[in-house]
């Protein structure tokens, strides 16, 4: 079954969440860390993205031990996992193709 494509920002969030549920802030921090600070999600963008992913049922709220409203965690749903796999496959084949065409080098950077 094919679904609507997911934006790169959403993809990053989904990818981070494969390691387990995280709080909003933790997600942005992880992305920032992973990209060496090249990409940082400000609160507005972050929560808009989370809201959209929630609406599409790709992530879900995970009950936290502390039950603190400020520390809600978000985890991948089954759909989210499927979409991520599908999307990464798509991106992967695109990168492969770009590499074969010589547009980018072996390490995936241009």
């Amino acid at each position: 079954m094919s679904r609507d494509p997911v934006s790169v920002r959403h993809l990053r969030i989904l990818l981070i969440l494969t390691e387990g549920p995280l709080h909003g802030y933790a997600i942005s921090a992880a992305i920032e860390q992973e990209t060496d600070g090249a990409i940082s999600l400000r609160p507005g963008s972050l929560y808009r993205a989370l809201h959209q992913l929630l609406e599409r049922d790709l992530i879900e709220e995970v009950p936290d031990e502390g039950d603190d409203a400020r520390r809600r965690s978000y985890g991948l749903t089954r759909d989210g996992r499927a979409v991520l796999a599908e999307e990464l496959g798509r991106v992967g084949s695109l990168v492969d193709r770009a590499r074969r065409m010589g547009v980018i080098g072996g390490d995936g950077r241009s």
Binding site: G24, Y25, S28, A29, R42, P43, G44, Y47, H51, R72
Partner: protein, 904 residues
């Protein structure tokens, strides 16, 4: 300390910006966002002041833009919720539709096609109706205050009440003084020759008073319009304004045309301006050139008698209402002025004392003079609504079928917790989606079909004035919305209320839906009967009108007309025509040639008074009309001389004893039962005083000369050379071959003949007769088109319904087959139910036709509006179509192997 202060200020700023987010978003994520902000802010504390500043600006900007995006998103969501989850569902629906197209493309295709037809025909007719009934002619400023003037009176010519837009020049002068009008303008449409010789062409000229342009509020595109000083009976200026279309067609938009001289009609005119594109004066008929009214009229005559004539009706008028803007008061004033001007005539009993000036709309279809085309157009508008209804009924039926097919799906959805309201809206959205697809397709149909209707209904109009695409698109979208609601409401309501328990087990048949389907099928048949009956009535009228014995045979006869260079006393028209007649006689392919003053259906002349020898005038409510003809005329026209003889060459010699031929009807009116032949009648004439005694030498079988609807015309014929004979105006030829060859022969003979022919034209006499059968031809063609469509739609609808029911009853039918029911019997059962519905629908249709027959009565020719043959034939056609539509599904059903039936 500074750090804390900084921190709290940044936090406050961020929190205040959160207000920009939609409330529900804020209440859900606000606290979390604040937390995220705090944590990110903390992590920035080690960075340089510059980087912190950049971070703050970037974060706040992001907050604002995110809030805005979210708001827009939220609004779109709300909209979606309200309009019925439309887009969302449409996409889901699209997926489902594709799925069902693959499973059974017929149903979806039928829905789209049927809706396309309905929307297309409605849109198409809207384009035409808009032009005729809704919009005033182009470039008219403040059109509500511009009125056409008409007079309602006893006709000065024939004994009947008429509404006429034609006035005499003195009438025009009388009405100028009416206080209720700001301005009054006069105009007169003519066909004039431009240039001369082989390159000459006819142009549509409008003689218009200088006041017309100001009154309408139009400004020249190039140059100027003429002034009152240029439009005068004496010492006016010969100036001309070209229409934009004519300027383009004839002169390729060459600006240097201004100042050049053109030979148009009676004079040489200097081009002073170009009217704006789309300006056609006060009517929608195209105009090529505008000439000053009075200057041109004066140039046409050697005397100024026309300025005093109260019997030469040639000016039409428009007026702009004055400040008071009171049409009724203006009408009263105008009527008073009109009667005052005609005081002498009224006193001597020569003019209707009750004559009344009335104001009419300048919107073409609302004119009190509107011809039968307008009535046909109105009917057609109604008919297209019927087609639309029919299409909606059909689609509703198809949707009901689909609803039944999807019961299981609906039941699952409801079981999964989707609200019924949402389901209903989703289903409606699905109809809307299909209707929109249909609407897109229908715009093409509307553009193409609209042009077709335009050409058929209004051949004289410029199709460029047809409706622009954006209007059509908008209307078509509107129509699609209406169609979707009309056809989708009930099926959606029914389908969204599935009986979950039963439908999950797939046992339901849905009685409501079934009854509704039957009712819709009956309704479709009824509408189709109405349309087919309409077609039948018009076809029958047309047939009767064309089969009418005219008393002569117009087919194969061509009439030729010329315009000679010089007018007035040395007019050589008659000489040119007689010369052409002589030469045509020897031409190949020409059986006979003649000349006459007029052709039947080409006009009437009642200028001659007929007196019995006893001295009393022959008074007839209509006519008598008179013709002057050459001896071969009766043979050429194939008119039958029943008593006595026709004319012979010796009758036309100057000084020959005056003779005449009468039609049977006129002879009876004049002489009663007694013998007419050999009797003498006095024909009043300007050249012979006292009028000579003219002997009746022949009686012609009655023939028609102007109207098909009325009785035969009362006509008398004089030979050329008779002192009272009207002037010869046309040469006639009957060809043995193709009429186009005859047309060409006549035209070239006229042009190649004596010098001084400025323009020559020829046309089939049958064309004049055809013009009179036009409204029936139109009705037959257009009703036939829609009636045929209706039949197809109804047959498709019945086919779908029967096919579906058969599919539903497969089990039952199979079991019956297994129990030994014959194949023929099974087919019979299915076909019978379809025929029964068609019969029921036909009954309803007949009732509707009977109830609405008054609408078409006046448009029919010798055909009763509830003509039994037409009704029976329409019903039979539908019943046969219904049976035909049922045969295939029935045969399929009868072929179900009992084994399969029992397995189910």
């Amino acid at each position: 300390m500074t750090r804390d202060l900084d921190s709290s200020r940044a936090r406050r700023l961020f929190r205040s910006l959160l207000v920009l987010f939609p409330t529900d978003f804020r209440s859900r994520y606000g606290t979390e966002m604040q937390t995220a902000f705090d944590r990110q802010w903390e992590s920035m504390q080690t960075a340089s002041a510059w980087r912190r500043l950049v971070w703050v600006v970037a974060t706040l900007t992001d907050t604002v833009t995110s809030a805005m995006s979210q708001r827009m998103h939220a609004r779109a969501e709300t909209l979606r919720g309200h309009v019925g989850a439309a887009l969302d569902t449409a996409l889901h629906t699209g997926a489902f539709t594709l799925h069902s197209v693959r499973r059974g493309p017929g149903l979806t295709l039928s829905i789209v096609l049927t809706l396309g037809l309905g929307i297309g025909t409605t849109t198409m007719m809207y384009g035409v109706a808009d032009r005729l009934f809704l919009r005033p002619p182009g470039h008219v400023a403040d059109p509500d205050h511009v009125m056409r003037l008409y007079v309602e009176r006893l006709s000065p010519f024939v004994h009947e009440q008429e509404v006429s837009g034609a006035f005499t020049y003195p009438d025009f002068v009388d009405l100028q003084s009416v206080k209720g009008f700001n301005a009054v303008a006069g105009f007169s449409d003519r066909s004039y020759t431009l240039g001369s010789g082989v390159a000459a062409e006819r142009v549509r000229a409008q003689l218009a008073s200088a006041t017309l342009f100001n009154l309408l509020g139009v400004h020249a595109e190039l140059g100027r319009f003429y002034t009152a000083e240029e439009d005068r009976t004496a010492a006016g200026s010969d100036v001309v304004v070209l229409s934009d279309a004519f300027w383009t067609r004839r002169f390729g938009r060459d600006r240097s045309i201004l100042g050049q001289a053109l030979h148009i009609g009676p004079g040489i005119y200097t081009v002073i301006g170009i009217a704006p594109a789309g300006f056609t004066g006060t009517t929608i008929a195209p105009v090529d050139v505008w000439l000053p009214l009075l200057t041109t009229r004066a140039a046409m005559s050697s005397s100024d008698a026309w300025q005093r004539s109260r019997s030469s009706y040639w000016i039409e008028m428009v007026a702009r209402l004055g400040e008071r803007n009171d049409p009724r008061a203006a009408e009263a004033e105008a009527t008073a002025a009109h009667r005052a001007g005609r005081e002498d005539q009224i006193a001597s009993g020569r003019y209707d004392p009750e004559a009344r000036v009335i104001l009419g709309s300048i919107i073409p279809g609302r004119s009190p003079e509107a011809g039968p085309e307008m009535t046909v157009a109105k009917l057609l508008a109604g008919v297209t609504c019927l087609v639309m209804l029919l299409a909606c009924a059909n689609v509703a039926n198809l949707l009901l079928l689909r609803g039944v097919e999807r019961r299981r799906e609906m039941a699952i959805r409801v079981a999964l917790g989707i609200s019924r309201r949402r389901l209903f809206l989703q289903l409606l959205a699905e109809s809307l989606l299909l209707a929109m697809v249909a609407a897109l397709a229908s715009v093409l149909l509307a553009r193409w079909g609209g042009a077709l209707i335009y050409r058929t209904l209004l051949p004289d109009l410029d199709p460029g004035q047809a409706l622009a695409a954006p209007h059509l698109l908008a209307f078509s979208a509107l129509a699609a919305g209406a169609a979707a609601l009309l056809s989708g409401m009930v099926p959606a309501a029914l389908a969204s209320r599935p009986d979950v328990q039963r439908d999950l087990k797939e046992a339901g048949r849905g009685m409501t839906s079934k009854r509704l389907r039957s009712a819709l099928a009956v309704f479709q048949v009824a509408l189709s009967v109405v349309l087919l009956a309409g077609t039948g009535l018009f076809v029958r009228s047309l047939h009767r009108a064309t089969a009418l014995d005219l008393g002569f045979e117009p087919d194969g006869v061509v009439a030729g007309y010329v315009e000679t260079e010089a007018h007035g006393p040395e007019d050589r028209t008659a000489a040119v025509l007689i010369d052409a007649m002589t030469r045509l006689r020897g031409a190949p392919g020409i059986e006979a040639a003649a000349v006459s003053s007029l052709t039947p259906f080409g006009g009437l002349f009642w200028g001659l008074r007929l007196e019995r020898a006893t001295g009393d005038t022959v008074h007839l409510p209509n006519g008598p009309f008179s013709y002057a003809v050459s001896p071969d005329y009766f043979r050429l026209m194939r008119m039958r001389v029943i008593v006595g003889r026709g004319f012979v060459p010796s009758d036309t010699v100057t000084g020959a004893p005056p003779v005449m031929v009468l039609t049977e009807g006129l002879a009876r009116r004049v002489f009663g039962g007694s013998q007419a032949l050999g009797q003498c009648l006095l024909v009043e004439s300007r050249s012979a005083d006292p009028p000579p005694c003219t002997e009746v030498v022949g009686i012609l079988a009655d023939h028609r000369a102007s109207e098909l609807v009325e009785d035969a015309a009362q006509v008398f014929y004089l030979p050329l050379g008779h002192p009272a004979a009207p002037e010869v105006n046309t040469v006639l030829a009957r060809g043995s071959g193709d009429v186009t060859a005859t047309l060409e022969a006549v035209r070239t003979t006229l042009l190649d003949g004596e010098a001084g022919v400025r323009y020559a034209t020829a046309q089939p006499v049958a064309a004049e007769v055809d013009a009179l059968t036009r409204s029936w031809r139109l009705g037959a063609t257009l009703f036939g088109l829609f009636g045929g469509l209706a039949l197809v739609v109804a047959a498709l609808g019945l086919h779908a319904v029967v096919g579906f029911e058969v599919a539903q009853q497969r089990g039952e039918l199979g079991i019956r087959a297994a129990l030994g029911a014959g194949r023929g019997r099974l087919v019979g059962t299915v076909v019978r139910s379809a025929v029964l519905r068609a019969a029921l629908g036909s009954l309803v249709g007949i009732v509707v036709v009977a109830a609405s027959s008054g609408l078409v009565r006046d448009l029919l020719f010798r055909t009763s509006s509830d003509d039994p043959a037409v009704l029976v034939l329409s019903c039979l056609t539908l019943i046969v179509a219904a049976a035909g539509a049922a045969v295939r599904p029935a045969a399929a059903a009868a072929g179900v192997p009992p084994s399969e039936a029992l397995r189910r």
